[in-house]
Symmetry: C2
Subunit: 107 residues, 2 copies
């Protein structure tokens, strides 16, 4: 057990949960918020700002990146992580439409 049974659900249902999962950890929300507020951002900034180890921040960043939410421009030693606004906006619309189409018919 302990394995989420994704195969019993539709692609749409799985997509919603996959998107939500990215935002289900406060560190990842904080990382996105911080990146969005900076002109540019390297991982070390995040370590100081958020208060988790470099390894942990890096792990969370890769989760966010794997979801397609980051564009990384390598600038020498440092790295400029930027939010992929196309994907981000896409996620917003998908979640928002899920909320809007979910109504209550009883009570």
């Amino acid at each position: 057990m302990g394995v989420t049974k994704r195969f019993i659900h539709s692609d749409y249902i799985n997509q919603i949960s996959t998107i939500a999962k990215v935002f289900s950890h406060p560190a990842r929300v904080a990382i996105l918020k911080h990146i969005s507020e900076q002109e540019q951002c390297i991982c070390n900034d995040l370590v100081d700002e958020i208060g988790l180890s470099q390894a942990t921040i890096s792990q969370h960043l890769s989760v966010i990146a794997d979801a397609g939410l980051l564009k990384g421009t390598f600038q020498g030693k440092a790295k400029c992580y930027c939010i992929n606004l196309e994907t981000f906006e896409n996620f917003r619309e998908i979640l928002n439409s899920f909320f809007i189409t979910t109504k209550s018919n009883c009570c």
Copy 2:
């Protein structure tokens, strides 16, 4: 380790992640979708419809309910779970405003 360090984040950040967590499992998304499509809904319907055991469905339901997303009208043995639209709409607005206020300044 293994414990999410919530205390290092702001209430706002934690709120976003807490809301997202409810939707981060496909079974919970499926439950909400199914409830929204029915005139009324008892747990047994969900077991047949979703394909998880009664115990598992009941657990997911309590996660959704704990978040404030359900209004349960007990009708004798059976139970009519309904979506709490006030909370649901509130969650939609909170998430949507998070997305809207998160911009990209570089790249």
